[in-house]
């Protein structure tokens, strides 16, 4: 019976990240009494929220068997568009819609180029990462620009609700739950898993592979844009490096959460936990007074261990 329960948990996609997260919390709580406090957990969640929204989008794309390395640039571009439109006195709602529209357009271009030209999305989005980042540098000229927005904007997107606990965490949780339901309980979610699992079989069974993938590219960019807007409201400004390096952290969080790099298999709840894990590492290392550069080493080791776990689970299922 005990073995059955253990085997049930071992086979869950979320198990490696849940195990790592628990272990990490236990170890770091013993090193620092401030680590497992409500205040610190609230601050971990608040730091996580923006990254988590990007991770949620990229998880769906990875389930569909594709990548998006341009999420960091899309995040930065949406923020830049919002701030610049506000500088031009454009209505905040229109500015948000145009910033999100631009993000969707980037996703559309990623999708169309990848699917029509038949090149790997890794390459398309790597190119897009550079194109958009270059545009951001060109628009901002390397300067910092302050955001001018009505109080309601900050209140709805980034204000603190209770202590360090920001409202963006609520958005993060809602988005994760909505996308989790979409993935597991809608036709689109079913088709997403199918095109990532075997796109030829999916096509032969009548699934519109092109449309499913294109929608997912757009959705991923939309999430990156939304996250960029939330981050701008938290910082109250934008700069040219906004979102740089985010893409690899987002993919790391998704993979740690049990999403397979090969596609067809993934979970939003796992990605949620993966994002929390990465933020916890940051916070934990700071609290125990470790030098900041240990962060990447730690995340790297955790990523490799998680991937070993994930592939062994997938292999066990296939065998």
């Amino acid at each position: 019976m005990k073995l059955k329960i253990l085997s049930f948990f071992l086979k869950k996609k979320e198990f490696p990240v849940l195990f790592s997260l628990t272990l990490f919390f236990l170890v770091f709580s013993s090193f620092s009494s401030r680590f497992a406090t409500l205040e610190n957990i609230a601050s971990i969640f608040s730091l996580t929220a923006e990254m988590g929204i990007v991770v949620a989008g990229i998880t769906l794309l990875m389930v569909a068997g594709e990548f998006d390395l341009s999420v960091g640039s899309t995040y930065g571009m949406a923020a830049v568009i919002l701030v610049f439109l506000r500088l031009m006195q454009i209505n905040i709602l229109i500015a948000i819609l145009l910033a999100l529209g631009t993000a969707c357009f980037i996703g559309f271009c990623n999708g169309i180029i990848t699917l029509k030209a038949g090149i790997p999305s890794f390459i398309t989005t790597l190119g897009m990462l550079m194109v958009i980042r270059g545009l951001i540098y060109f628009i901002t000229q390397g300067y910092i620009y302050k955001l001018d927005a009505p109080p309601l904007f900050y209140k709805l997107l980034s204000d603190c609700l209770l202590g360090n606990f920001r409202i963006s965490v609520i958005w993060f949780i809602i988005i994760t739950l909505v996308l989790a339901v979409i993935l597991s309980s809608t036709k689109y979610g079913n088709w997403l898993m199918a095109v990532g699992g075997n796109k030829e079989v999916a096509r032969m069974l009548g699934v519109n592979v092109f449309r499913v993938k294109l929608i997912t590219f757009i959705l991923t960019s939309f999430m990156a844009g939304l996250s960029g807007i939330i981050a701008t409201s938290r910082f109250g400004m934008v700069m040219s490096t906004f979102g740089e390096g985010m893409e690899l952290e987002a993919i790391t969080a998704a993979v740690m959460g049990g999403t397979l790099l090969s596609g067809g298999y993934g979970t939003l709840i796992g990605s949620f936990l993966g994002t929390i894990f990465i933020s916890s590492v940051k916070s934990g290392l700071i609290l125990i007074g470790a030098p900041a550069f240990w962060y990447q080493t730690f995340v790297g080791i955790a990523l490799i261990i998680a991937v070993i776990f994930n592939s062994s689970i997938a292999r066990r299922i296939i065998e």
Partner: protein, 250 residues
């Protein structure tokens, strides 16, 4: 055999991939309730013909008629809606998806919750369990990934899926190729069940002995051309093998 007239007819089908002519002016037809063995060597054009008749490829030339009407099979979804299903060698299933999700893939049952259409998981699982049970397949759990099924079980799930969706015509593309002798026998038994249900079948294979036991008629392709067509009583398996080997009708 209970032949009641032509179910599908393809006339003058040609298809090229770049400079390679995969099919050249091929005519093909199948009647209601008939089992046709589509045989030929590697590269004969069998799979290309099946993919054209199931909407995966579009022909360069030729016309297709289904139940007397001219049709344009521009996608597999259109073919499936007409009642044309295809079962491939690997069962056309997604290994990391659960059995019930695979069973209904492309034809999911939906219900409306809070103005949103969601999967009716309960009904899909019940229907899948009841149908697979009725044809003798009882997997441990429908939530298990298809990867845990044996090759024969995967074929059975695929054929069962086609029957569940009231297919009028099923293309079986090398259904016994990767199976053990016992599993192949089980799939052949399955095909007999399908015939009893009055569904037409096109059985594509290398193994003439497998198709000979169940087919009513044989169509032989060679390098993209139809080189022979025989009723079962006119030929022996050895004779068909001889034609495939030599590439011509003696």
């Amino acid at each position: 055999m209970n032949v009641k007239g032509t179910l599908m007819k393809a006339v003058n089908i040609s298809k090229s991939f770049g400079k390679i002519q995969a099919l050249k002016n091929v005519d093909f037809q199948i009647s209601y309730g008939e089992i046709v063995g589509l045989v030929g060597d590697n590269g004969a054009g069998k799979s290309t013909l099946v993919k054209i008749l199931s909407g995966v490829y579009q022909p360069d030339e030729g016309e297709i008629f289904f139940e007397g009407k001219k049709v344009s099979l521009s996608s597999p979804a259109i073919a499936r809606n007409l009642g044309i299903e295809t079962v491939y060698q690997d069962g056309a299933l997604i290994p990391l998806m659960s059995i019930w999700r695979n069973f209904f893939l492309g034809k999911e049952i939906l219900n409306r919750k809070f103005f949103v259409k969601t999967l009716d998981k309960k009904r899909m699982k019940e229907e899948c369990a009841s149908y697979l049970g009725s044809i003798g397949i009882r997997p441990l759990s429908l939530d298990k990934e298809v990867a845990i099924l044996s090759g024969g079980e995967r074929q059975a799930v695929s054929i069962g899926r086609a029957m569940y969706f009231k297919a009028k015509l099923i293309f079986l593309d090398e259904p016994t190729a990767a199976l053990s002798i016992r599993e192949a026998e089980r799939v052949l038994q399955f095909i007999s069940e399908v015939r009893k249900a009055g569904i037409s079948i096109v059985f594509i294979t290398h193994n003439i002995y497998h198709v000979y036991t169940v087919a009513d008629r044989f169509v032989i392709l060679e390098r993209g051309k139809k080189i022979g067509e025989f009723n079962k009583e006119e030929v022996t398996p050895e004779y068909i093998m001889d034609i495939i080997r030599s590439g011509r009708v003696k």
